[in-house]
């Protein structure tokens, strides 16, 4: 009996390093981006043709992104005229936690119509591990990869006062981080759609009890904390019926923790996690985002 107990304790000690972090990110590898020709699952599949974009305004490129020595090739798409980056306002669109840019392509096209077709430039990227971007997704890698894209924009003449960060779902993490703690550019505005409050809120929502997140994951997404250091104008959009990141325990918490100069909230009746633009109506969604960007 004594030997069994010792064996159990030793075995447990040796194996007590399981983490669920690798399960957190829902990546899917691609060998090529198909964009409009992509036939797989995607968000906002019913987006009308009126929101199509011309091929000459779609620029796919890759960058080297160095996250504390972990250098990876990440892919990004710029929608608009790259020659006008030095004068245009640009929306840096941080997508959610699913697959790749083909999955979010319709959202990017919608964004390219904010304020009118190609009124603003739009940059969307696949974080490391997503789509054709190489490497393994990490929390710090998200921020690094978005910042690398912002550095690319800066190199093309963009300035912080013409930069808007947009974070959708998981993308709210790097967007909030880079708004609160700017690196290459200090964005002038922050938009969050269906943001996380924190990994720990997710845990406690599910567990009923006040368990710490550290029991299973090293991921420390904490937008509720970081938003307190954002003083740029802030726009929050959330579906009232969000079945994944509940509006009252996630979105409202982030919104209420904001202490900056200006904030506006758009609580969308009937909308769930991934259909806010469709439920709002694409035109209304574009108008709301456009009004905020143009303020």
């Amino acid at each position: 009996m004594k030997r069994i107990i010792i064996l159990f304790l030793v075995a447990t000690g040796l194996q007590a390093c399981l983490r669920l972090d690798s399960q957190f990110f829902n990546v899917q590898e691609l060998t090529t981006y198909e964009l409009d020709n992509y036939t797989g699952e995607r968000e906002l599949p019913e987006l009308p043709e009126a929101y199509d974009v011309d091929a000459e305004n779609v620029h796919l490129f890759s960058l080297k992104s160095n996250d504390n020595g972990d250098v990876q090739t990440i892919y990004a798409i710029y929608l608009g005229d790259t020659a006008r980056i030095a004068t245009d306002t640009v929306i840096v669109y941080c997508h959610g936690n699913k697959h790749h840019m083909d999955f979010y392509w319709n959202r990017a096209k919608l964004m390219a119509h904010v304020g009118g077709e190609h009124r603003y430039g739009v940059l969307m990227m696949d974080y490391r591990g997503f789509g054709m971007s190489t490497g393994t997704t990490t929390e710090s890698g998200l921020t690094t990869d978005v910042n690398t894209c912002m550095q690319w924009l800066k190199d093309h003449g963009l300035t912080g006062d013409r930069t808007v960060l947009y974070g959708y779902s998981l993308g709210s993490a790097p967007a909030t981080t880079l708004a609160a703690d700017p690196q290459s550019l200090r964005a002038s505005k922050l938009i969050l759609e269906a943001p996380f409050a924190s990994a720990e809120v997710m845990v406690q929502d599910a567990a009923l009890a006040a368990l710490p997140a550290s029991y299973f994951t090293d991921i420390r997404v904490d937008n509720a904390e970081k938003i307190q250091f954002v003083d740029q104008p802030f726009c929050w959009i959330h579906g009232i019926n969000d079945d994944f990141l509940k509006i009252d325990t996630h979105g409202e918490v982030v919104y209420n923790h904001y202490q900056g100069s200006y904030r506006e909230a758009h609580r969308i009746p009937e909308a769930v996690h991934n259909n806010v633009p469709a439920v709002m109506g694409y035109g209304e969604y574009v108008r709301v985002v456009g009004e905020f960007v143009g303020k």
Partner: protein, 236 residues
């Protein structure tokens, strides 16, 4: 097992459920197969349990495979103390230990069941950041003997208490009392007891707005299944 699920289920929400159902399972695992009847005076026993709440996953209903091992000792004919360690939690770097004291208040008399209570303290601490939690709980159980070999059926209620008033992000802790209803059967054969138990966890809390796809009758709580093994040692 997690990898297998991940290959089958791709949507984001389902992927996140892998993470989240384990959290709730951790709590549920804190109350594995119930202690119902005391050991005899100065008797030792080794215990092992497996089971957890049922969750929907990829179209299937699966129990969360949580395990615990422990030891118990009969202080006298109506009191037993027990210590239990949670093996699955340990694999994730969380040391989780229960200390329990069972007291039998009355034996069965005819159709009137025997009654016992268990006061339990659970302590958890992770090796990653040293975050710790303490949860007291109270079980009240009633049992009826079946046959003459010591087998019995039982039912009862487990009450978990969350001591924190404020959760993360300064949120008021909504759930301070987390009950579970238990129904089980213990088959006794010589030195071995085998228990089969069903639990209805958090029966008064809606699971409709939770991310985890708990399985239970109606829209409240989670249904769990558990199996426990007890090996008794020595002559009392």
């Amino acid at each position: 097992m997690i990898s297998m699920y991940a290959q089958i289920i791709s949507p984001f929400i389902c992927r996140m459920r892998i993470l989240l159902f384990l959290f709730i399972a951790l709590l549920a695992a804190c109350s594995p197969v119930s202690m119902v009847k005391p050991l005899q005076k100065k008797q030792w026993a080794a215990t092992a349990t497996v089971g957890g709440p049922l969750v929907g996953f990829g179209g299937a209903v699966v129990p969360v495979p949580f395990t615990s091992v422990g030891a118990a000792y009969g202080v006298d004919s109506v009191s037993t103390v027990a210590l239990r360690a949670h093996a699955t939690a340990a694999l994730f770097g969380v040391a989780q230990i229960d200390g329990a004291y069972l007291r039998q208040w009355r034996g069965q008399e005819g159709g009137i069941p025997g009654i016992s209570t268990v006061v339990q303290a659970t302590y958890m601490v992770d090796r990653w950041e040293g975050n710790s939690r303490f949860y007291p709980s109270l079980d009240v159980n009633a049992w009826w003997d079946v046959g003459k070999k010591g087998s019995f059926i039982y039912t009862g209620i487990t009450s978990w208490y969350e001591l924190k008033k404020i959760g993360t992000a300064d949120r008021v802790q909504e759930h301070r009392w987390i009950p579970a209803l238990n129904l089980g059967f213990t088959r006794s054969r010589g030195k071995w007891n085998t228990s089969f138990e069903c639990k209805y966890l958090a029966p008064f809390t809606s699971h409709e707005s939770l991310t985890v796809d708990y399985k239970a009758p109606g829209s409240n709580g989670a249904f769990g299944v558990y199996v426990g093994f007890t090996r008794k040692f020595g002559k009392p």
